[in-house]
Amino acid sequence: MLEINDLWVDINGDQVLKGVDLTIPRGETHVLFGKNGSGKSSLLMTIMGFRRYKVRQGRISFKGEDITQMPIDERAKMGIGLAFQRPPSIKGVKTRDVFDICNSNSVSCEDLADKFEFSELLERELNVGFSGGEMKKSELLQLLLQDPELVMLDEPESGVDLENLKILGKAINKLLQKYLWRTRAKSGLVISHLGFILNYIEADAGYVLMDGRIHCRGNPRELFKGIQRHGYQECVKCQR
């Protein structure tokens, strides 16, 4: 589904990714761990095509097509979706209008909002005065409406209380088709700091990103346990 080869990226001349290789087959979900500033969000933003992230070397291909230079909206239309870590507030634009933009399958926004306890926020301006949890929920519901084949989640659990975490978990389940096994068609790339998200997804592989490079690959739960026990420094040494 997604294949990244030797990806080098900079922002305003600062190198943020230094030769990343990554392959996510159809139906698999991979998890990215790493310290703040290690390049995790930059990788997701680059895959989505944000213009600040300049690809200096390497290639990104999606469903067999080279998308390295493709505009953001075309990538979205091909089936890539991103739930932002810190989405912008857009004054005057109602959340409902953005939901309508995302709605690719004519799903009822009301029903969806109702199911995820979001109805009151539909008429509000997008992210204006939203709490951290409300923003994350808004992001996930937008992705549910967009129904992408590659689901990228940038720290979906940060700033979310435990009660809402369950509701978000339900949304993530649905997005990544956790309930399916052999026939699962959705792929995922998820950034996590706290590891809570591992309880809500079927993660197939995990990576530790350090200083713009992938240092460690393995079973995501084991990796996370290792990080909890020994910190990220061990990952640098291990070079798995």
């Binding site: 909206d73 990538r75 979205a76 932002f84 857009i90 933009i101 995302c102 967009q146």
Partner: protein, 405 residues
């Protein structure tokens, strides 16, 4: 009295205005009074009808409590359909109500500048709209000042009164005939909101490329009165300058101004609102959204708090969509007593790239994303504005969106 006024106007005949480009009044012909040919709604041309409808006037007068329509210097239609409401041409109102002399030129000085002077010296009617004491005129009254004659000046004087405890809602559209290229519009508007009355006013301007516009407005709001103004100018106009002054004279008086301005290339808009909070517990809000696609905008605002326990806020947001455009926000706060609470917020810039890209990640093209953000930026919901007036404003924005981008 009228002689004193005339003399003051004579002395101000060449007095330049404080703001805005100076206009050579002699460039514009002043049409003489001509009552020989009566005008009415039936003998408007199809294109005039269309343009007038576009400016927000319902010619069938459905869902309107009254109508006033003036073309150049001639009254086309004037009617009040509800008891307790008066809609009259100004000349007739002055004849019928001798007391009106007391209010005439009270909220706007006759010698403020050459434009007020011209409106006095070459008076060409205008409207008088009044809700009588305690009358609730919830259905909007519509007024339209239409310019048709090439290179002429239209000098009108309007007075609007919401008497004690009344409610009055007005939609005004000012527009020009499609063939008209150049002209000068001078509009004096004096608003009197009496004790406990509510007056809402939505004005939509749709001028031609070479029209110069100099409205001069003054508003007086008494105790517990409420004045809401929503002003929209989205189409090209060569030069528009106005800076209405509102006096909140009684405790609990409230004024809110919302304006939405778009300046295409070649357009100069110098507008704002000034509110003087003269009594305790008065409140004011001035909010503007300005957008340039190549024109120049000066967005002014001035709040003067003269008494304690007053509360006021000023907000100017400007969006620059072209490097040729300029937006100059000039917010002023002036407090004279301890205990005034006044604030302002001004921001001028281009659309954040981050916002465009965010919407692109949801599948919109760059143009669609920009249009969505611009629409949101201009979408000012004015608290307390009747739905008919808000719908009219929303429609004006929607219609001009395509040409704007």
């Amino acid at each position: 009295m009228s002689e004193v006024r005339r003399n003051r106007a004579e002395l101000a005949r060449d007095k330049k205005a404080t703001f805005g480009a100076d206009v050579d009044l002699l460039q514009y012909q002043i049409l003489a009074e001509d009552q020989t040919k009566a005008l009415d709604l039936d003998n408007l041309t199809t294109e005039d009808r269309e343009k007038i409808i576009q400016s927000g006037v319902d010619l069938e007068e459905n869902n309107r409590a009254g109508t006033f329509l003036q073309t150049d210097h001639r009254i086309v239609h004037c009617a009040a359909k509800q008891p307790g409401l008066e809609v009259l041409p100004m000349a007739q109102a002055l004849e019928e109500h001798p007391w009106l002399e007391e209010l005439y030129w009270q909220a706007v000085p006759v010698d403020a500048d050459k434009y007020t002077a011209q409106a006095e010296l070459h008076f060409q009617n205008g409207y008088f709209i009044r809700a009588l004491e305690g009358q609730q005129v919830a259905t909007p009254v519509q007024a339209c000042l239409y310019m048709k004659h090439e290179s002429t000046a239209q000098n009108v004087h309007n007075i609007i009164i919401a008497e004690e405890g009344s409610e009055l809602n007005i939609i005004t559209g000012c527009a020009t005939a499609p063939s008209l290229q150049s002209g000068l519009h001078i509009g004096i508007s004096e608003f009197y909101v009496r004790r406990g009355a509510k007056l809402t006013f939505a004005m939509i301007h749709d001028w031609a490329k070479d029209v110069v516009v100099r409205p001069r407005s003054g508003i007086v709001v008494e105790e517990d009165g409420l004045f809401l103004s929503n002003y929209v100018s989205l189409k090209p106009v060569r030069s528009l300058q106005m800076y209405p002054t509102t006096r909140l004279t009684g405790p609990g008086a409230v004024a809110r101004f919302h304006s939405i301005l778009v300046a295409p290339p070649g357009c100069e808009l110098d507008t704002g609102a000034r509110v003087v909070l003269e009594a305790p517990h008065t409140r004011a809000e001035i909010i503007s959204r300005t957008l340039t696609t190549g024109g120049v905008i000066k967005a002014r605002g001035h709040l003067r708090g003269l008494e304690k326990d007053v509360k006021a806020h000023l907000e100017c947001h400007g969006l620059i969509l072209s490097d040729q455009g300029i937006i100059h926000a000039i917010p002023e706060l002036e407090g004279h007593k301890a205990g005034v609470e006044m604030s302002h917020e001004a921001a001028v810039g281009k659309i954040a790239e981050e916002e465009i890209e965010y919407l692109m990640a949801r599948g919109l093209t760059e143009e669609e994303a920009t249009a969505t953000i611009v629409r949101g930026f201009l979408n000012v919901q004015i608290e307390g504005l009747p739905p008919e007036l808000q719908a009219r404003v929303d429609l004006a924005i929607e219609e001009s969106e395509k040409s704007m981008l």
